[in-house]
């Protein structure tokens, strides 16, 4: 009868488990989350990414900039532009490099034509700079032109006379076949000239104030991983000379653009990286992510996901231009046409514009080549459309920048009213929530700071506010805390003494008692279970389910400061595989392996023993969920130690279980344990292969059906 009840229960558990697994498979197909911009009066999307969780999600936000006009040669009154390769601005003028027509159009603050630099004279010779790709104007109004096609840099004074020509440097640092193709130029406060040469991956060429070649500066490096190192090693060992010579050598990306900020620091962009170079050419751009302050060298700027154009082809990230104004870095992607605005702490403020190489609306691009700030405007040149698009800071954008500047300079209280204004207009602005949290923190309104920080997923401010809040609470309630702790200790002591004296039995079922005491007396409990046949499958299954629930709780119900998953990103399917699936697989494989080693354990004994061994993990999950609510991340070491201890303890319990259930000695248990792990890997691989084959087969069938339908 009991057996019958057990089997019914088992069947029910199986059904429920199956239902949960099926639901987990099905749910992703009805996920219903996405973001579409409400701001339909701009033809492109304006968005940012939600930060603070393991997976980034896009958030539509109110536009910080709006496109107001397109400057064309005809509109400016100089005839059509041909190949607008560069746009540069000083405080009062805009310089448009109309490369195809070998001229520079200079506009005033109102975008009206001031003059044109077209016919240049040098030593009574007319100089043409068709094909030039960059220019720079210094404080003395000297215009430097990167005359790419003519392998020279021209310096033109305010009288439009060429005062200097820099040609291919004569230096041992350069290869004999080095081709000097200047594409971008900047000058720092010390009059050093930095020139990017097309095809040069050594970094920027530096010229002294006397215009002598000094050397290279700030080259990118090839990022390598352990795998690439091993791969290179293997190739060097086994590849033939011919194969080695024909293989493509990985070179660092050359800089696509360069600019200089007010403090004379050099910024460069290439592919998906932005760098701020220190005096020695190293990247000094930093960012903060989940309590750690690290170099932005490995930070992926731009969209850290696959982006598609209208033909459904993936568009790679390729920054073509950079501009810096105040605390903000603006980069432009030549392929997607998007503009990314970061602050100097590498917080992504806003992504806008676009076009994916086919932009034909205001604010969208085909191939944006250059970007520059001009007052509150942002100018973007498109070398294919031959336009310079003017983006203007919106009122919202203006307030946001003011607020963020105050926050970045530590004036949290002053920033508060601006952030409140921003938050009123756009509740999706995470920066506003973070700014308000910081303001509340300095104003010692910790509850408000905790609320804002949690909504803005700002764990650093949250943990600071939490520490302060806890300190305040403990100080205010010291007697209560101290008294409560004393009472608790006393109560526990009394309980232990009382239960020992009176032999209190909370649980009468022996199999349950044995199961639950396995972590305390593994050999005794498991021995009794095996030899007295006291396996309890329902208890084991409950523990397994608790193990899964514990892991889910660790991910979703832990303290905010520790939880990196949220409902949007959490994948219950992976977790089921990683918990329940792993235990079931381990049970089966261990049974199979141990049979070969003359193990005495039965499948249900192994299953029960393994599940009982999970108790430390369940306790850890429970402790994590409770402690993570109170322990600030500075005490994360304690949580890590606790986790490691529980894992080690679980492994030891598992070894004990194998010893007892299969009647092995320790070394045999170790070896079968290793064999079990290998077997699990092997079966996992086979399952993966079978699933891949099934997927391909289903894809093939679907393909045929689709083909038949379409014909």
């Amino acid at each position: 009868m009991k057996k019958n009840k057990n089997s019914v229960l088992q069947l029910r558990i199986l059904r429920v488990s199956a239902l949960i697994i099926m639901l987990s498979f099905l749910m992703p197909s009805v996920f219903y989350v996405s973001a579409q911009s409400a701001y339909t009066d701009v033809p492109y999307q304006s968005y940012t990414y939600q930060t603070g969780y393991n997976t980034k999600k896009t958030i539509s936000i109110k536009p910080v900039y709006e496109a107001v006009s397109n400057l064309t040669g005809e509109k400016v009154g100089v005839g059509a532009f041909t190949n607008v390769n560069y746009v540069f601005s000083t405080d009062d003028s805009i310089y448009i490099l109309d490369s195809g027509n070998s001229r520079i159009i200079v506009l005033d603050k109102n975008y009206d034509l001031t003059y044109i630099i077209s016919s240049l004279d040098f030593n009574n010779e007319s100089i043409d700079f068709t094909g030039a790709r960059g220019l720079y104007v210094n404080k003395e109004k000297t215009v430097y032109i990167a005359d790419t096609d003519h392998s020279r840099v021209l310096a033109v004074d305010s009288d439009k006379k060429v005062i200097d020509v820099i040609e291919t440097p004569d230096s041992d640092l350069l290869d004999e076949d080095f081709l000097f193709s200047p594409a971008r130029i900047v000058e720092d406060d010390n009059n050093y000239l930095y020139v990017l040469s097309d095809g040069c991956y050594y970094g920027a060429l530096i010229f002294s104030p006397e215009r002598e070649f000094v050397g290279f500066y700030g080259a990118n490096t090839v990022k390598s991983t352990v795998f690439t190192v091993i791969d290179n090693l293997v190739q060097s060992l086994f590849d033939s000379e011919a194969k080695r010579s024909s293989s493509v050598k990985k070179l660092p990306f050359q800089f696509a653009d360069i600019c200089v900020d007010q403090k004379s620091f050099i910024y460069t962009v290439s592919e998906s990286t932005v760098r701020r170079l220190g005096p020695s050419g190293n990247n000094i751009l930093n960012y903060q992510d989940n309590y750690s302050f690290s170099s932005a060298e490995n930070l992926v700027f731009g969209d850290d996901l696959k982006v598609y154009n209208s033909s459904n082809k993936e568009v790679q990230q390729s920054f073509s231009a950079v501009s810096v104004k105040g605390n903000y870095i603006y980069t432009c992607d030549s392929l997607s046409g998007r503009i990314y605005m970061y602050d100097n702490a590498c917080n992504l403020i806003f992504v806008f514009a676009g076009g994916m190489g086919e932009g034909n609306q205001l604010g969208t691009f085909v191939t944006p080549s250059s970007i520059t700030n001009f007052g509150n405007d942002l100018l973007v040149a498109d070398q294919v459309k031959n336009t310079v698009t003017v983006f203007r800071l919106t009122d919202y954008g203006n307030t946001l920048i003011t607020a963020n500047n105050l926050t970045l300079s530590g004036d949290y209280s002053e920033s508060k009213e601006y952030w409140q204004e921003i938050y009123k207009k756009d509740k999706n602005c995470q920066l506003a929530l973070s700014g308000l949290a910081k303001a509340a923190l300095v104003e010692e309104d910790y509850d408000l700071a905790l609320d804002y920080a949690k909504r803005g997923v700002d764990r650093i401010t949250y943990s600071k506010a939490f520490s302060k809040s806890m300190s305040r609470w403990v100080t205010d309630n010291f007697l209560l805390v101290f008294g409560g702790a004393l009472f608790l200790v006393a109560a526990i002591c009394v309980l232990i003494i009382y239960s020992n004296k009176h032999s209190v039995t909370l649980i009468k079922n022996r199999s349950v008692v044995l199961g639950l005491t396995t972590p305390i007396h593994p050999f005794a409990s498991l021995g009794e279970i095996k030899y007295k046949k006291l396996t309890n499958i329902p208890l084991a299954t409950v523990l397994l389910i608790l193990f899964y629930i514990g892991k889910v709780s660790e991910s979703l119900n832990g303290g905010f400061m520790y939880t990196m998953d949220n409902n949007e990103t959490f994948n219950s399917l992976l977790l089921i595989i990683g918990t329940v699936g792993l235990v079931l697989l381990g049970t089966m494989v261990n049974w199979g392996v141990c049979i070969l080693f003359e193990g005495k354990g039965k499948m249900k004994e192994i299953y029960c023993a393994f599940c009982y061994c999970l108790i430390p993990q369940i306790i850890y999950s429970l402790m994590f969920v409770i402690l993570s609510q109170f322990i600030v991340p500075s005490g994360t070491t304690f949580m890590t130690i606790l986790n490691v201890v529980c894992i080690i303890y679980t492994v030891i319990l598992l070894l004990c279980a194998v010893c007892v259930i299969h009647e092995f000695d320790f070394f045999k248990a170790m070896s079968t344990g290793i064999a079990t792990i290998l077997g699990m890997v092997l079966i996992g691989f086979v399952i993966f292969m079978v699933l891949t084959l099934c997927q391909n087969f289903v894809g093939f069938i679907v393909g045929i059906i689709r083909e038949v339908t379409l014909r």
């Binding site: 219903y32 701001y39 939600q50 033909s311 459904n312 219950s572 083909e707």
Partner: protein
């Protein structure tokens, strides 16, 4: 068992072979008439083919062109825009200017689209026949190299002429017609300063034809927007589409003008324009009619990579004919876009496309009720609708706004169905979800609105649905795409641009079932004592349904929606629409949200409020929601340019769980947060809007890039300055980003 196995295997094998054969056949099924060339291309002699009191329509047999002559002035318009008797044009320009049609066709055996002009394949070969019809001429163009023929009926009317493509006269063999551009150089002008083309992109826009102004530019936009049921693989930008099926040209040199109205088959048309092409010398606007629908399907290649294939419908649209009506404008009078707006308004009034509804409110409030968010239970995800404005809270909002401005607002309630603002059951389940309140609270809200003299509209999405309910199944009642499968759409990720079907998908109700949905809606509306229905999606979205050739290429959308709106109104309900196409906007009680600008294409030089000029004074029109625009001040001023009421979107609260959801509007409209700004705008504009309430626009003038002047029928003039510096106007100094009004 074993004896039956071989038979079964044999049957399966035969079935498999048949399937393979089906897959390998070219699969062409013909529905159009077979192409047949006449033995002799019969021509009509040059000369008059029709005549009335005002015009003469004549045929030129040498050039195969038609011309229209105004008797009173002797002014002449021709399908070839220059005087062939005195000028000669060769090469590329001749091919374009002498071509009465441009044909796009689907190449036989391939899926490529190719184009050919009638000049290349018909005019050059003389493969054209003429046949006299009542008041005009039927000209049939034989594209001999393609074995396709297309007939065009040219008919004289009292104010110009019409050109129609009767679909039953189209013949084809292996090559299949995709689209036809009709008279590409009739609505044309010589490239010159101050002349312009008018196109109805969004609110309307002008394209100047001055070659010195910018390089050659091309424009193309679908009439009534893109086909919503045609899934695009990635969405990289957005546009308003053409809300009105009209276009025109104004020639500044002789003050001539032509205004064209697509009077039949507009849904299947694109309006295209080419301006300032120095190689042609002329700029023109024209309609291109798409006859065959298509859908883009993803096919897995041998190596597993996906490629996109365009699948075209076998049949062509069953619309009788595609017609463009050309109005030639009297050069002695105004021929600008102002006159075009007036002309179109008269046309709509004459054809029953425009009511005369009275405006009582100067602003409206779109109250958003809720949306779906993702939750988990023990790690298993599920979705739940979260309320951001309950019915009770909506009543409080109605109460709070009752004292603002000179009039009570119009209240529109959106997202009150089971899925909130997200798309789930058809028409949100035809009622108000109990998540937002009960019947008593609904009655309370209706009572409160009535007391405050607010008009209350309930917004129902009657075309999109993602879940079967109320007898409408997503399997059997969904519109079909051109390849016969259910048309599916969904949300596009703003960063990756791709359609995320895993995030939820929705279909469109079968076009033939639309009346059933409306019947059900009226039934429920009566139960809930609703007086006003808002039909935002029905009025702004047009879509195809390839389950019936009546609905190919969005066919008959205007007819169907007009009938629905008329039926609802005749059932004593008031109807509000939003971003509406003309067929719904003209006959609705109010338009809550109009396009405030053009779609911003590079080809467009100046935006004009043509849409507003047509409807202002006849249908109450309101701006799009100010708090949802990139620059609310700009949108406010754009609204005042044309005397539109103001719009706002509000919700009572906001949950940060909605941050990554599909409805970012909720983040920008928390009532308490925007109340002061809203009140400020309403009070700033109250007197002006009162002055121009129910008053039409007589003239809109672009004074500079940022300064405009609008004259209303009662003599009120408003100057709007969108620039960053002050401007001097006859009414005084106008500060940056502000407006001034009065009488001159």
């Amino acid at each position: 068992m074993t004896a039956k196995m071989p038979k079964l295997m044999g049957f399966i094998s035969i079935l498999a072979v048949l399937c393979m054969l089906c897959a390998c056949s070219d699969g062409t099924v013909k529905y159009t008439n077979d192409y047949k060339e006449p033995d002799f291309f019969e021509q009509t002699q040059s000369g008059t083919v029709a005549e009335n009191d005002a015009y003469i329509l004549s045929w030129n047999a040498e050039e195969y062109s038609l011309s229209l002559v105004q008797k009173s002035t002797g002014q002449k318009w021709s399908t070839i825009p220059y005087d062939t008797a005195n000028e000669t044009v060769d090469g590329y320009a001749r091919v374009n200017l002498h071509s009465p049609l441009t044909l796009w066709y689907v190449e036989s055996g391939k899926n490529n689209l190719k184009s050919i002009s009638a000049y290349q394949d018909c005019v050059n070969n003389g493969s054209i026949t003429c046949e006299k019809i009542e008041n005009g001429l039927r000209v049939t163009y034989y594209f001999m190299s393609l074995e396709i023929s297309v007939s065009v009926d040219y008919e004289l009317t009292a104010d110009g002429f019409t050109a129609s493509i009767p679909t039953d006269k189209i013949t084809e063999n292996q090559q299949r017609v995709y689209s036809i551009s009709l008279l590409p150089y009739f609505v044309a002008t010589k490239n010159a300063p101050d002349s312009y083309l008018f196109v109805p992109s969004g609110s309307g826009a002008l394209i100047y034809t001055d070659t010195a102004l910018r390089p050659v530019s091309s424009y193309s936009e679908s009439v009534y927007g893109n086909d919503a049921a045609k899934a695009v693989n990635s969405k990289i930008n957005s546009d308003y589409g053409c809300k009105l099926p009209v276009y025109g040209v104004h020639n500044a040199a002789d003050n001539s003008g032509i205004f064209a109205v697509i009077s039949s088959g507009a849904e299947s048309a694109k309006i295209e324009a080419t301006a300032a092409d120095p190689d042609i010398g002329y700029s023109s606007a024209y309609a291109t009619f798409i006859l065959r629908g298509s859908t883009t399907v993803s096919v897995t290649e041998v190596r597993g990579s996906e490629s996109l294939v365009e699948k075209y419908s076998d049949d062509i649209s069953s619309i009788d004919k595609f017609t463009v009506r050309y109005f030639v404008m009297d050069s002695s009078a105004d021929t600008s876009y102002n006159a075009m707006a007036s002309l179109y308004r008269d046309y709509l009034l004459e054809n029953g496309g425009l009511n005369n509804a009275s405006q009582t409110a100067d602003w409206y409030l779109n109250v958003l009720c809720g949306a779906r968010i993702k939750k988990t239970f023990l790690g298993v995800p599920y979705y739940s609708t979260v309320s951001v404005t309950s019915l009770e809270e909506a009543s409080e909002i109605v109460e709070k706004v009752s004292s603002i401005g000179n009039t009570a607002p119009i209240i529109k309630l959106s997202g009150f169905g089971d899925y909130g603002l997200d798309i789930g059951k058809i028409a949100g389940g035809f009622g108000v979800s109990n998540k937002f309140g009960d019947k008593k609270e609904l009655a309370e809200l209706e009572k409160k609105a009535e007391e405050n003299a607010d008009s209350l509209y309930f917004n129902f999405d009657v075309i999109r649905f993602g879940k079967s309910s109320s007898g409408f199944s997503t399997r059997t009642d969904a519109a079909k795409s051109a390849n016969g499968t259910s048309a599916i759409s969904g949300y596009y990720d703003v960063a990756s641009n791709i359609l995320r079907l895993d995030y939820g998908e929705y279909g469109f109700i079968m076009r033939s079932k639309l009346p059933n949905v409306i019947d059900k809606l009226l039934e429920k509306a009566e139960d809930l004592s609703m007086n006003g229905l808002a039909l935002d999606s029905l009025s702004s979205v047009s879509y195809s349904d390839y389950s019936d050739s009546d609905y190919y290429v969005k066919g008959n959308m205007a007819r169907d929606v007009s009938k629905i709106v008329t039926d609802i109104k005749s059932s004593k309900y008031k109807v509000a629409v939003s971003q509406a196409n003309v067929y719904a906007a003209g006959i609705a009680d109010c338009v809550l949200g109009t396009p405030q600008s053009s779609s911003g294409y590079d080809a467009l030089d100046v935006d004009i409020p043509f849409y507003q000029m047509v409807f202002k004074g006849y249908v109450p029109i309101y701006s799009s929601e100010l708090n949802l625009s990139a620059n609310s001040r700009r949108t406010f001023l754009e609204a005042l340019k044309s005397g539109q009421g103001l719009g706002f979107s509000v919700n009572d609260s906001y949950s940060s769980n909605l941050m990554t959801g599909a409805n970012s509007a909720l983040a920008a409209g928390v009532f308490d947060d925007i109340f002061d700004e809203m009140k400020g705008y309403i009070e700033e504009s109250a007197d002006f809007l009162e002055r121009v309430r129910n008053v039409g626009i007589t003239e809109y003038k672009v004074l500079s890039d940022t300064l405009s002047k609008t004259v209303f029928e009662n003599g009120t003039v408003v100057y709007v300055n969108l620039g960053m510096s002050d401007e001097q106007t006859p009414l005084g100094v106008l500060e940056k980003m502000s407006f001034i009004y009065g009488k001159e």
